[in-house]
């Protein structure tokens, strides 16, 4: 007993309180705000989607997407990824008719606002435009999920398991890829 400080008995409650505070900090991960406003309106003029442009570009501040830190929004994105038929072309990230989304290659940019524009505007060689078809807040959820496929969203908030049969590790255990810009994949080029 002598080895302990005199007030050792009061340490227990303090440790418990610190532990409780630490646990509470995790509440934000699952915070469900149903009437949440999506990130500020996208300044379309300043967003570049390829390296092909006259002159140089204004260095634009990236638009942060809060949904990337939120487990509920990411799982909603995962649900929408199937329900809005992204899986029809991109499969569950591995690609098919469309390019894979779980690798490090990006044709039209990897930043949230660039992916947002890709979904809303559509892209040549098959990506349809979903303008007016998917509400903005749902597009932002999809953006967060698409980035989680290559480990770019918070791994602590990304979906940790599949509801159905799985063919790949869950998004939470994907290691963070370093995005690189690539041209149109060979599979999307005209065959002649």
């Amino acid at each position: 007993m002598a080895a302990y400080p005199k007030n050792s008995q009061s340490l227990g409650p303090i440790v418990a309180m610190i532990a409780a505070c630490l646990i509470c900090s995790a509440c934000k991960r699952e915070q469900r705000s149903f009437t949440v406003a999506p990130p500020a309106a996208v300044p379309i003029q300043t967003i570049t989607v390829s390296d092909l442009h006259p002159g140089s570009v204004l260095p634009a501040a990236p638009v942060p997407n809060d949904y990337e830190e939120n487990a509920f929004a990411l799982s909603e994105g995962k649900r929408l990824f199937t329900q809005m038929n992204c899986v029809g072309c991109h499969a569950h990230g591995g690609g098919g008719m469309g390019p894979p989304l779980m690798d490090e290659k990006w044709v039209y940019g990897s930043h949230p606002e660039q992916i947002f524009l890709t979904i809303v505007q559509g892209r040549p060689n098959g990506m349809p435009s979903f303008a007016a078809k998917i509400p903005n807040q749902q597009v932002w959820k999809l953006v967060a999920y698409v980035r989680s496929l290559s480990g770019l969203a918070s791994s602590g908030a990304s979906p940790g398991r599949e509801d159905h049969m799985k063919g790949k590790p869950p998004e939470s255990s994907v290691s963070k890829a370093t995005p690189v810009n690539s041209g149109i994949p060979a599979s999307a080029e005209k065959p002649y």
Partner: protein
């Protein structure tokens, strides 16, 4: 004392209000629920009578004065012991007989409930978070009828439900017709009943299934067979074509904006199956899984801000102008 009596009377009256109503197991509207409620009343009568007798016996012996000069316990009294033995033995026999009686009546009802009409109407009921997809099956695929949250059944004919779920476990419970049955994802279950009484009844998901579990309701409309057939025939038609300019604008909006991603209106480009089928939404009595009246004001609120009414539902917030939402509502209401 008078106050206590008055309160007891009031409580008894309250309890009896549970015996009738359009969402009550004690107001049977089907063969199956009639048998179940019959069994319930048998159990209620017998167990209440026994409870009262036991209570009276306890009160009687608690207040009974002991005999003035009790006989010493250790003196043998063969006659008294024999009398007591016979009394206790017959009470035990009576208990066993009553329990067996209840058991047998339970078996009889259970056997009757397990017998399925060889030629029932087939309905596939799929649970979603948080609404009911209703599909009237037919070998002719063009005659399949799809609707949501309202189940029409003909009186006098058995309806068999194939119960499925696409997300979590739900439970189908229309207390006026039958007991509960769970809808388990990946494991279809079944239940059936034969309606005996016409009327509009209410049902409810009976297994906690998420945030809006309490608002996952449905309507069962029991009607004469000819009326049911007429309803089924009208539901097989494509969605009504818009007549006024407002309705035409509503249809344009419906097939060109967010609605088309999740809903179906037969006869238009809207063919998605994520949300409820809206081909005849104007003919349904209620919307939002039977929680809101189907009128213009509620439809507009639901289209614009479903998240305020049912937070967490898959219907997203929308940003239509007030003119557009009025046009959409007019179109939906015209889909009779």
């Amino acid at each position: 004392m008078r106050a206590i009596l008055r309160m007891l009377f009031f409580l008894a009256v309250c309890a009896f209000t549970g015996c009738s109503g359009n969402q009550s197991a004690l107001d049977p509207a089907a063969t199956q629920s009639r048998q179940i409620s019959g069994l319930w009343w048998i159990f209620f009568a017998i167990t209440s009578a026994i409870f009262l007798l036991v209570l009276l016996a306890v009160l009687f012996f608690s207040f009974k004065k002991p005999a003035a000069d009790p006989a010493p316990i250790l003196v043998p009294n063969p006659r008294g012991e024999r009398r007591r033995g016979i009394l206790i033995g017959s009470l035990i026999t009576l208990t066993i007989l009553i329990l067996f009686g209840l058991l047998i009546s339970d078996f009889v009802v259970g056997r009757d409930l397990g017998q399925l009409d060889p030629n029932p109407i087939q309905v596939r009921l799929t649970g979603h978070q948080w609404w009911w997809e209703v599909q009237y099956r037919d070998p002719d695929l063009t005659k399949i009828v799809k609707t949501a949250n309202v189940i029409h059944v003909p009186v006098g004919k058995t309806v068999q439900f194939e119960l499925r779920s696409v997300d979590v476990i739900h439970s189908f419970w229309a207390p006026n017709f039958h007991g509960k049955k769970d809808l388990v994802p990946g494991h279809p279950t079944t239940n059936w009943f034969r309606a005996e009484k016409t009327g509009e009844y209410r049902g409810q998901c009976a297994e906690f299934c998420g945030l809006q579990h309490a608002h996952m309701r449905f309507v069962v409309i029991a009607e004469p067979p000819e009326k049911f057939e007429a309803w089924l025939g009208s539901q097989r038609q494509s969605g009504a074509s818009p007549t006024s300019d407002l309705e035409k604008r509503g249809q344009e909006l419906f097939v060109s904006t967010t609605c088309v991603m999740c809903h179906t209106v037969e006869g238009t480009a809207a063919r998605a199956t994520i949300g409820p089928n809206l081909t005849h939404v104007g003919s349904r009595p209620l919307i939002a899984a039977a929680t809101l009246p189907n009128d213009a004001a509620h439809l507009q609120h639901w289209i614009l801000n479903a998240q305020q009414i049912k937070p967490g539902a898959q219907m997203p917030q929308q940003t239509f102008s007030s003119d557009d939402v009025r046009a959409l509502t007019a179109y939906l209401q015209a889909l009779k």
